[in-house]
Subunit: 418 residues, 2 copies
């Protein structure tokens, strides 16, 4: 089994700083982290010896007379691979990524059943297929991340409740570890995608951002002061259950006027059917009708955009994120253009004062990128001490790093299955 390199907070800080902000010199790491130069050198050494980090050629960037030029430390991204799988009620979507969570290959597997046994069995086959794609994966992939919608107890590896899978108290991490032989981390799917954005995506360079996902449900991941908000009672980011509605029917949660009861795929479709008078309208046909200019169906999408915009404003008024990343699953994405304008307008109208200065970024994220989120959680779990703060990751080098990472999640992996 893979030896654990990050046994001290300094080791975790140095490694994750190179991973998420590198290449970066030891001097710069010391400056950003508050660690002494000696501590940085000591912390980096085991990673260099184990082949995770390497010293690049000295750059010319240091000022004249500033002593010997700094040799930046850089990740060797293919030193270790990670497997990530998103579990939906219809299929498994898996990827193998490098250390920077860049997907290298992907594969899908439809689910014949949503029973825990059936899903874990399909998962083992999918992982075997993915790892067989390159001998290096089999040798140097030790960890698997799983992303599941619902209430996930990451610490204990248990899916407490997943409505779409109809799972209650499923010890998924243990079952998957037994079936695959890998070290398994599980997390809520929206939180997983948030971690991927925080470490490797549009969240790099800010200590405070939100991710809003539009689709079957309306979800949200929050990062405040550099940490994903988990919720004291395990619930957080439930933007879909902010009551912004006027006279909408009851939500499945028992509340009234919830965003999700207006803008989730099912109520959106129901409203489009009612508006068009066509009781068998599909989501795709509703989107087509709206694009073709059907005013009643367009109004349905505008109302959804209004609800999401108000909820995002409520969220921004409460915690003032620097950025909000808006993404969605397939129908969510396809319909996004239909409500983007209304969403922006309603957000601007309801955001309080400077909360309106928050940047809204539309970022398509395929299910493969959700699987990448699962891998990112496995990477984070692997190289940080649980719960330990990561000093210096917060505000360091935001501008430059943010720019170089822009769009880093959009590279496409090689697909194994269609």
């Amino acid at each position: 089994m893979h030896p654990r390199l990050t046994s001290t907070p300094a080791a975790a800080t140095v490694f994750t700083m190179v991973l998420t902000q590198g290449p970066v010199s030891r001097v710069e790491i010391a400056k950003r982290s508050g660690l002494s130069s000696a501590a940085v050198t000591k912390a980096a050494r085991p990673f260099i010896e184990a082949g995770y980090l390497e010293e690049l050629e000295a750059t010319e960037r240091t000022a004249p007379g500033a002593g010997r030029p700094a040799s930046p430390l850089s990740i060797r991204p293919e030193r270790e691979f990670f497997c990530g799988v998103k579990i939906t009620h219809e299929e498994l979507i898996g990827v193998v990524t490098d250390l920077r969570a860049q997907p290298l290959v992907s594969a899908h597997r439809p689910l014949a059943t949503t029973s825990a046994e059936g899903v874990v069995s399909a998962l083992a086959e999918l992982v075997a297929e993915l790892l067989a794609a390159d001998p290096a994966y089999g040798e140097r992939c030790h960890a698997l991340g799983l992303a599941v919608s619902g209430d996930v107890d990451k610490a204990h590896g248990v899916v407490r409740y997943s409505p779409f899978l109809q799972w209650h108290q499923v010890p998924l991490a243990r079952l998957a570890a037994e079936a695959t032989g890998l070290i398994v981390t599980i997390d809520n799917d929206v939180k997983s995608l948030t971690v991927a954005e925080q470490w490797f995506g549009d969240g790099v360079g800010t200590s405070s951002f939100a991710l809003v996902t539009v689709g079957v449900g309306i979800g949200c991941g929050l990062v405040v002061n550099d940490r994903v908000v988990a919720g004291a009672h395990g619930v957080a980011g439930e933007i879909g259950h902010i009551p912004v509605g006027r006279d909408e029917p009851e939500c499945h949660c028992g509340g009234r006027g919830c965003v999700e009861a207006i803008a989730g795929t099912a109520p959106l479709l129901a409203a489009a059917r009612a508006a068009s008078g066509d009781a068998s309208l599909t989501v795709e046909a509703a989107i087509d009708a709206a694009h073709a200019g059907d005013p009643a169906v367009r109004e349905v999408f505008a109302r959804a955009g209004h609800a999401i915009g108000l909820a995002m404003a409520a969220m921004a008024n409460l915690f003032g994120p620097e950025r909000i990343i808006v993404t969605g699953d397939v129908p969510g994405l396809a319909s996004y253009g239909l409500f983007e304008e209304q969403l922006n307008r309603s957000f601007a109208a309801q955001a309080f004062g400077a909360a309106a200065d928050c940047r809204l970024l539309l970022r398509p994220r395929s299910f493969e990128q959700w699987a990448r989120g699962a891998a990112a959680v496995a990477i984070q779990q692997h190289f940080t001490l649980e719960g330990a703060p990561l000093p210096g990751l917060r505000s360091a080098g935001s501008e430059a790093t943010g720019a170089t990472r822009e769009g880093s999640g959009s590279q496409r992996p090689r697909r194994l299955t269609k």
Copy 2:
């Protein structure tokens, strides 16, 4: 001038741990903070020498055979005093507190004007009166905290905008420092009260809580992962502008259906006047009428409770705080009993899953306690390194400490002016 003792993160950690959780032994500090015993001893020494900390008699609590008993470190609360003033558009409310933010004396001063010059001049008189109450205050009070409603730039000491005072870009910290000769810290009033709860009140022992204030406005302070949420653009905690209303008129913020446009004192009074048909009804008379059983006026308060309960549920769904402390100014408090039941019911109905497990604590807080909040911010500013995390403060000793602090904010200071 007072020498700055907290020049290192370790010094800040050790001192604040004794301040907020003490008496506590060096061994226990090391355990909770992750610092070495030697580092704790080194960090504590200057505070002992300067008379801020003292070693108590060794207690008998250590296990038999566990070596020499530990001598807990304790604060000497009267080693230094702090002045705190809440500024409203009608009056100044000031206190002198000890190191633990316990108010010792209080005084009020009505404001004849809300011009910055007029307020600062009255402030100087009030501070002089407070410090004259005991020779020790004049000798050992060096810092003044000011709490102002509105958009306050704490870092630069500037009130960017205060609607009630009609202030724009007032450099209050500099003006107050020139007028009083003290080191001045300013902050938003709700954030100040949140800091007082976090360090010395009902927030001790939890890393995540919210404070909701009900009155002229509906405000909120949020603590997530041990830190007050500031907002990337300076806006956070604006629970009053969550759009939960159905057909309410526009809010002063430009939004629609805002909680504050329903449950703030002015719209509440307007609705009570409309319901009772008495256009000159006062807030006090409305409260009396509701207590006397007037169904139309009672309904007005119930609607306010419903709006606040929904907004609190939206906030809990997003953050999942462990506790929510509900407080208010005078009319807010007097009417609280009138909407408490509806508030609790609406919160429970809209809170998502386990978010409903959040404890709601009703805590009356007088304006003197808001002034204490201002002093707490001055204390925090004085003994921490700006922005430095305080490891170990987060989850340590929550049960015991929480219990001993319960109600600690309710002691009454000696009043200088009626």
